[in-house]
């Protein structure tokens, strides 16, 4: 069980619009480890956030909580490139409306 460590990277290609790239297995221990970066992200001002999930292979309730935190904080949060597995987790949790998929 030695998957590559989950990572979080933030870019701001257009002022006020953040692009968050998550990768790896977003589980309870990964979220605990990424907590300082997540808190720093939540503290940034932004009008809209796109979360790139293309590199995320696994998402548990803790990972989903991070996405939902972003949605509550920024309001406009779109998901880019989630795998079928991740998409199914989001749908089954009834939060597809809160975390819509977006292009790019």
């Amino acid at each position: 069980m030695t998957e590559p460590e989950a990572t979080l990277a933030v870019a701001e290609p257009v002022p006020g619009r953040l692009r968050v790239v998550l990768a790896g297995e977003l589980d309870v221990s990964a979220v605990a480890r990424l907590r300082p970066e997540i808190d720093a992200l939540l503290a940034r001002p932004a009008e809209a956030v796109v979360v790139d999930l293309a590199g995320v292979g696994f998402l548990d309730s803790s990972g989903l909580a991070v996405l939902l935190e972003l949605a509550q904080r920024f309001g406009d949060v779109g998901l880019s490139g989630p795998s079928a597995i991740v998409r199914r987790v989001i749908e089954s949790a009834g939060v597809a409306a809160v975390l819509p998929e977006v292009e790019g």
């Binding site: 069980m1 297995e25 309870v28 221990s29 979220v31 292979g57 696994f58 548990d60 309730s61 803790s62 989903l64 909580a65 939902l68 935190e69 949605a71 509550q72 904080r73 079928a84 597995i85 199914r88 987790v89 749908e91 089954s92 949790a93 009834g94 939060v95 409306a97 809160v98």
Partner: protein, 562 residues
């Protein structure tokens, strides 16, 4: 998996107990070397471990073998060199014979011609300190052989007519030098007689060499044989009374070689022994160098092995200690978890209830899964299965507050949909970093009418006698997410004899697998129509999480009796 409450409190530090008692309570590692008293541990540390002794032993055996090989090689080498040098010495000795015989033959020829003056002049060069002989004489042979001409000292043999007669009786003309043997008379001497082949003058030339007074000489230092000590004997055997000369006190002991060299009509036996190692001191001392070096290396090997063994033992002890701590932590988490879950389910006529909780093996923190069953008293039963995101105490305390809130709202008469909406006010993912999924249902026992609400939770399964299928329940957002409006409760009928199975996602979720595959696995596992709700739950757990899943699993079954 559940431990007695007192044990849990001890582990939590809420009960004060002695160290030993606490160790006894930790049956997970009990009986293991780790739980031995510290004194035994110290004792064990004082002894040398077996691998170190083996390494030491092997190294010493190798050292012994090498020393033996070095020693054996030294012996072989010394023997070989000695043989070689003794042969060379014997060859040198053989080469010396013509040097004795040739002048005597010349003397004889002069004696036969009767030119005494020339004979005396010639023989004079052969005697004295510079010559080989003490005396050279010409003898008239016959019944009583006697010297007729003498150059140098008077021959010893002349003083002993009987001996002279015996000697010259055996002297016939031949190419061979006749050796009179050792004349152990007034002065020890060696006599030689020469009568060349074909001679018929009745004369013989006789010479004597004095032996060293103490029959002891010394080989010249720096000569080819300076490393050897010799003893020379007349005749084919090393007999003491036949000793001509020796450079060491006799008898010769230790390493020695013997060569017999023809010498006139007899022979000389040469016995030689090394005065010092012929191959040099290094080869002699090599075995001791090997032994010394080998012992040092053996000790180093032993020490290294001991060091490695101890380091491994330490690592094993640490691993055992980590394992113990892990089990301890795990036990605390499980105990706390079970303390927060219903101790027993209510007895409700017309239904059979069963619940299970299996802690995940991956983490050692308490989870946020729960189940609950509340008999409402109006012939209905409210059932809840929920899951707070995350792990640890925050998840557990949120779970506990949600569980008791549900109980309170049921007490106030709230229907499932209203109840879930009210829970939203208790939790906010933005504030708490947590949300909770929840499946809440109210079953009218008599009719089987079942109202269900899902807040982001996996759908329940209905396992009938013949098949199992998921109920379609509209999924609203989880508790704590807010925003979206919640769908109304769905109403279905639970047939008599069927079991409603509600669970948390740990039962079906696998890394790298689509959720639908997990759901299908569960459906198939529940397809067999188990005899009771409890056995259905056990079957499902045995098939889906035989060794415990990664995540915690809460499982609730309610079977409507016929």
């Amino acid at each position: 998996m559940v431990r007695p409450g007192a044990g849990a409190l001890r582990r939590l530090g809420l009960l004060s107990v002695r160290e030993g008692t606490e160790r006894d309570a930790l049956d997970g590692t009990g009986g293991d070397a780790d739980s031995q008293p510290a004194a035994t541990d110290r004792q064990r540390r004082a002894v040398v471990h077996r691998p170190a002794l083996v390494a030491l032993g092997v190294a010493l055996v190798v050292t012994g073998a090498l020393a033996w090989a070095a020693s054996s090689s030294y012996e072989d080498n010394e023997n070989r060199l000695l043989t070689l040098q003794v042969r060379q010495a014997a060859a040198a000795l053989s080469a010396a014979l013509p040097g004795l015989q040739t002048p005597l033959v010349a003397d004889y020829e002069l004696a036969v011609t009767g030119d005494d003056t020339q004979l005396r002049s010639y023989a004079a060069s052969q005697v004295g300190p510079k010559g080989r002989f003490a005396s050279v004489s010409v003898w008239q042979l016959g019944a009583s052989p006697h010297p007729v001409l003498v150059v140098g000292d008077a021959p010893e043999l002349a003083a002993h007519p009987a001996r002279a007669a015996a000697f010259f009786a055996g002297v016939a003309p031949s190419a061979t030098l006749h050796v009179a043997g050792l004349l152990d008379l007034a002065r020890p001497a060696l006599g030689y007689a020469e009568v060349p082949p074909g001679a018929n003058a009745g004369l013989a030339v006789y010479a004597e060499s004095m032996l060293h007074p103490a029959t002891r000489g010394a080989t010249t230092r720096g000569s080819a044989f300076s490393d050897l000590n010799f003893a020379l004997y007349l005749g084919p055997r090393p007999e003491r009374r036949q000793l001509i000369e020796a450079t060491v006190p006799l008898p010769i002991t230790g390493r020695q070689r013997m060569e017999v060299v023809p010498f006139g009509d007899t022979s000389i036996t040469l016995v030689a022994t090394p005065d010092q190692p012929l191959g040099g001191g290094l080869t002699q001392n090599l075995r001791w160098l090997v032994v010394g070096g080998g012992i040092v290396l053996a000790l180093l090997a032993g020490l290294t092995a001991e060091f490695l063994v101890r380091r491994r033992r330490t690592a094993e002890r640490l691993a055992a200690e980590n394992d113990r701590l892990y089990r301890q932590q795990r036990a605390v988490a499980e105990t706390l978890q079970h303390a927060l879950l219903p101790t027993e389910l209510p007895e409700v006529a017309g239904v059979e209830l069963a619940a299970r909780y299996v802690a995940g093996v991956r983490g050692m923190e308490i989870g946020g899964d729960w189940y609950d069953v509340i008999a409402a008293g109006d012939g209905t039963v409210v059932l809840v299965v929920g899951d707070v995101s995350g792990r640890g105490l925050p998840a557990a305390t949120t779970m506990a507050s949600l569980r008791y809130a549900v109980r309170a709202y049921v007490g106030q008469g709230d229907e499932p949909d209203r109840l879930v909406a009210k829970l939203d006010g208790l939790l906010s993912v933005g504030r708490d970093g947590q949300f909770a999924t929840l499946l809440c249902g109210r079953l009218e026992v008599a009719s089987g009418r079942l109202a269900l609400v899902s807040a982001g939770h996996p759908p329940p399964l209905v396992a009938g006698p013949d098949d199992a299928r998921y109920l379609t329940v509209p999924v609203g957002p989880p508790v704590g997410v807010g925003g979206a409006t919640r769908p109304a409760a769905v109403e279905v009928e639970l047939p008599a004899g069927a079991t409603l199975l509600a669970f948390t996602d740990g039962l079906v979720e696998r890394r790298g697998e689509h959720l639908d595959d997990g759901l299908e696995r569960l459906r198939k596992a529940a397809d067999d129509g188990a005899a009771s709700a409890g056995s259905l739950l056990d079957d499902v757990l045995a098939q889906l999480v035989p060794d415990g899943g990664d995540d915690d699993v809460a499982l609730l079954g309610i079977r409507r009796l016929r």
